[in-house]
């Protein structure tokens, strides 16, 4: 006869994975918050074991670096906005499954176009016209930079990932070339602050605050992007094309047309980010003016599931960690360098991304199985 389950000597797997049904939003957020807390504990243990430094002090330094004083706080908010706009820029393309990893190049040509306008038109046209020119040039430059791979994708089905990546290098070297060309003492590649005394073409202060206008512009774009993606016919077409080109063809959407229109928007927004970086923040052009945002924005967009409002959170989180990490590396009471602070940031982000697995799946352990059977 059959042996009873209790005496069986069969090897049972320790656990197995079960797909979850959609879970309520608050539970999902509980998991995410738990992931952050666990990450902080893990980081604390690693810090203690590897470096012998006080993890509490390290976390203090992190907060200090991010929001330690009002300048730091404003910088944090502005950098969040600048990362957010790039995240918003890549999102329409991503929703369409067009893997635009060329945001870096598109931002850089936007910076280049803005710088060109500032250098060429200052004093020749009224300031208002100068701003219109700067914005128009930046939008067009970014759009063109995205349009080129877009056309190839739409008509020849080339791989947009490689293509946009290559366009980054071209943009980077174009910027390097013009830094050399426009440098004050020819050969040292430094353009220097443009219109330092007159501040022509600089984004104006609002109530004496030089950060505020950048942030307001990005806030408006965030709302617009949300509405565009969710409530406009264009946004609807983007979702259909991204999900299934066959469905798009079936209902008569011109897929090529949608691809090109969407990459134009994506590129133009990157160009606008370039304008903000030059006119609103740096007032000069260098090869690292873009600051890696083109790639970081990909994480921002994905972590937020392409939702513009969630992107506010994800970009804030990433900028917060980056700012904190800089302070951790330089704090005098801690003997930690930037390599270690990068490890810290890496672990925290890994936990945040990794916890999505637990939102979609559940792990069932065997002990639980047995307990359930016993009850039966």
């Amino acid at each position: 006869m059959v042996k009873s389950p209790t005496e069986k000597k069969v090897r049972e797997p320790l656990f197995h994975i079960v797909k979850r049904d959609a879970i309520p939003w608050w539970k999902a957020w509980l998991i995410r918050i738990a992931a952050v807390l666990i990450a902080l504990v893990v980081v604390a243990v690693i810090t203690l074991v590897m470096t012998g430094q006080d993890p509490i002090e390290m976390y203090k330094a992190m907060f200090d670096g991010a929001v330690g004083n009002s300048t730091r706080t404003w910088n944090l908010l502005q950098d969040t906005a600048l990362l957010l706009i790039v995240g918003l820029a890549v999102t329409p393309a991503f929703k369409m499954r067009f893997w635009n990893i060329g945001a870096q190049g598109q931002i850089l040509v936007g910076c280049l176009a803005t710088t060109f306008c500032m250098r060429t038109f200052t004093g020749k046209v009224p300031t208002a016209v100068l701003f219109i020119l700067m914005i128009a040039f930046a939008l067009i430059a970014g759009a063109v930079w995205a349009l080129i791979p877009g056309i190839f994708k739409a008509y020849l089905n080339t791989n947009e990932t490689l293509f946009t990546l290559m366009m980054n290098y071209i943009a980077l070297n174009l910027v390097a070339f013009f830094c050399f060309r426009w440098s004050k003492n020819s050969g040292n590649d430094v353009i220097g602050i443009i219109n330092r005394s007159s501040k022509t073409g600089w984004m104006p202060d609002i109530a004496g605050n030089k950060f505020l206008l950048n942030i307001i512009i990005v806030a408006v774009i965030t709302v617009a992007a949300f509405v565009y993606l969710k409530y406009s016919k264009h946004g609807y077409e983007i979702s259909v094309v991204g999900e299934s080109e066959n469905t798009a063809r079936y209902i008569g959407i011109n897929v090529k047309h949608v691809i090109i229109r969407t990459v134009l928007i994506s590129g133009a927004l990157c160009g606008l980010a370039g304008f903000l970086l030059v006119s609103g923040v740096h007032h000069t052009l260098t090869t690292d003016v873009e600051g890696g945002r083109g790639f970081t924005a990909i994480i921002v967009s994905w972590m937020a599931h392409f939702n513009p409002f969630y992107m506010i959170l994800t970009s804030f989180l990433i900028v917060f960690l980056e700012k904190g990490a800089i302070q951790v590396a330089s704090a005098k009471n801690l003997q930690l360098d930037d390599n270690f602070s990068d490890i810290v940031v890496g672990i925290i982000i890994l936990f945040i991304i990794g916890c999505e697995f637990f939102i979609n799946y559940r792990i069932k352990f065997k002990s639980k199985d047995k307990a359930e059977e016993a009850r039966e």
């Binding site: 059959v2 042996k3 389950p5 069986k8 069969v10 090897r11 049972e12 797997p13 197995h16 079960v18 797909k19 979850r20 049904d21 959609a22 409530y231 406009s232 016919k233 264009h234 609807y236 979702s239 259909v240 999900e243 299934s244 066959n246 469905t247 063809r249 079936y250 209902i251 008569g252 011109n254 069932k364 199985d369 359930e372 059977e373 039966e376």
Partner: protein
């Protein structure tokens, strides 16, 4: 003492999220017996078999092989216990030969000659026809299936599970397969066959286990069972199994296809000189082995497939004007005022967008309406609620992504939308594939209603019994050719079966014995 069954399942439960795929299922299969697992789609047949073959792991319950409890945590474990599963979708490497596919993944010395000899021995033992050196991509569907079966036998399987093995076969090929299965049974193998075709259950199995919505209902001796009793066990409540077919009223030519030629991406001719006429108030069935050009034909009419030569003409019912549809995009066809609805074979990949909710899927055809740059969701919402109500779509709400719905409900959403467009031509490709009996009959009735409204319905189907019961005329195609047009009221399954294989060369269609 009674011999222990080859395989026994006790209280097997498996859930996916909120969905209970199997709940306390009990099952016994003896050696030298063919057991049929019968159930509607979504009743958990495949899930259950996937647990035996190590693809899923049960949440609770016990599995016994020859009376000993075992744990099957991976397909490897399942091989170890002599279980072999033949999946519905073949898992073969196209560019390798039959013998190479059979030894693929096995440990030990790689000796293709010896393997070929062993394959030939197995084949002659059970009456398979196989050429071990033939490449998979040169094979017909039934040959590929043969390779799959020999593959598991080669690995020493004596418990065989076949998941809907007849879905892709012609009646003649099915007969051959059944002959082989009977010989394996005589050889003492335990065979489990998953199906939802009643007549097959009756002709091949010794016992039949019925599942309904994940629950184990009963096991019957096949000799005591009838189609009616099986249906009742499977569906729970009685369904009318006959379709009320009215004679076409004043049929007029609506869609005329003439000498149509199409070439697929690989450059092969998929439609060759296809000509037919679809009439209003009539259901034109299209029968053929899967992949004989049915999809290309419908897509060519819908403006989705490039046409090499030929004509597609639409006759407007009001004006009587003839419109040329060839080389028009779906958009242009609609702008001509042609009310052509199309239920494509690939529901979630073409007819609907899986991640969107029912409301947004309702908009697919109509979202462009109006000058505003923004979407108008009121009408689609009303339509979604109406379809959910009138077609009994089982869904938590109209804002549930259609991907989360079961196959039958997905199809109701799609067919509902296409019918809501009040078409004059309605094309449906395999509209009941994967649907349970209740949903299937609802779809048949909808098609029938459309016909009675004067719509020209084109219905591509695979179940010949249904084609014969539902359609007025049946167009049979084989390898891209029209091999015949028959009157559905007078034809027989055998006649259609022969026409289906007619243009397939190599004399395969001729072998009816077996």
């Amino acid at each position: 003492m009674e011999k222990a069954p080859a395989i026994e399942l006790k209280n097997i439960t498996k859930t996916f999220g909120r969905i209970v795929a199997n709940h306390n299922v009990n099952l016994k299969v003896n050696r030298g017996e063919i057991m049929a697992i019968l159930g509607e789609n979504g009743s958990g047949k495949t899930t259950l078999m996937n647990m035996i073959s190590g693809i899923y792991f049960p949440d609770s319950g016990h599995i016994f092989i020859d009376g000993k409890e075992v744990v099957i945590a991976s397909p490897k474990d399942s091989y170890k216990y002599g279980i072999g599963m033949i999946h519905q979708h073949f898992k073969l490497v196209d560019v390798l030969s039959a013998a190479e596919n059979i030894v693929l993944g096995l440990h030990g010395k790689y000796n293709i000659k010896e393997a070929s000899r062993e394959v030939a021995r197995i084949a002659s033992l059970y009456g398979f026809e196989i050429d071990p050196a033939k490449k998979i991509y040169e094979m017909s569907v039934s040959e590929k299936q043969t390779v799959e079966i020999i593959k598991v036998l080669y690995r020493g399987a004596d418990i065989l599970i076949l998941d809907e093995p007849t879905a892709v076969l012609t009646p003649q090929e099915t007969a051959k397969l059944f002959a082989v299965l009977r010989r394996m049974k005589e050889d003492g193998k335990a065979i489990v066959i998953i199906t939802h075709k009643l007549h097959e259950v009756l002709s091949i199995s010794d016992r039949v286990a019925v599942l309904r919505k994940g629950e184990y209902i009963c096991t019957l001796e096949t000799k005591d069972a009838t189609e009616a009793s099986l249906t009742e066990a499977m569906v729970g409540k009685k369904v009318a199994l006959d379709i009320d077919r009215a004679d076409p009223v004043d049929p007029e030519d609506r869609l005329i296809v003439k000498d149509l030629d199409c070439i697929n991406r690989e450059g092969a001719k998929v439609l060759d000189d296809v000509s037919f006429t679809a009439r209003s108030g009539e259901i034109l069935g299209i029968a053929g082995i899967a992949g004989s050009g049915q999809r290309e034909l419908l897509e060519a009419i819908a403006g989705l497939q490039h046409v090499e030569s030929g004509e597609i003409t639409y006759k407007d019912p009001k004006t009587g004007k003839a419109e040329n549809l060839r080389d028009k995009t779906p958009m242009q066809i609609r702008q001509l005022g042609v009310r052509l609805s199309f239920v494509p074979e690939d529901r979630l990949g073409m007819g609907l967008v899986g991640s969107m909710d029912i409301i947004d899927n309702m908009m697919l055809r109509s979202y462009r309406k109006g000058k505003s740059a923004f979407l108008q969701r009121k009408e689609p919402r009303d339509l979604a609620n109406e379809i959910i109500k009138s077609l009994e779509v089982v869904t938590p709400s109209a804002t549930t992504p259609v991907r989360r719905l079961s196959g039958g409900n997905v199809q109701k959403v799609l067919v509902g939308r296409e019918i809501a467009a009040t078409p004059t031509v309605l094309m449906a490709a395999y509209p009941v594939r994967g649907l349970d009996i209740n949903s299937s009959y609802m779809i048949y009735n909808l098609l029938n209603q459309q016909k009675e409204r004067g719509v020209a319905v084109i219905f591509v189907g695979e179940d010949l019994d249904v084609l014969i019961d539902l359609c007025d005329r049946i167009l049979v195609i084989g390898s891209g050719h029209v091999t015949g047009v028959v009157d559905a009221r007078t034809t027989t399954k055998e006649e259609i079966g022969l026409l289906m294989t007619k243009s397939v060369a190599h004399g395969e269609g001729g072998e009816l014995n077996g």
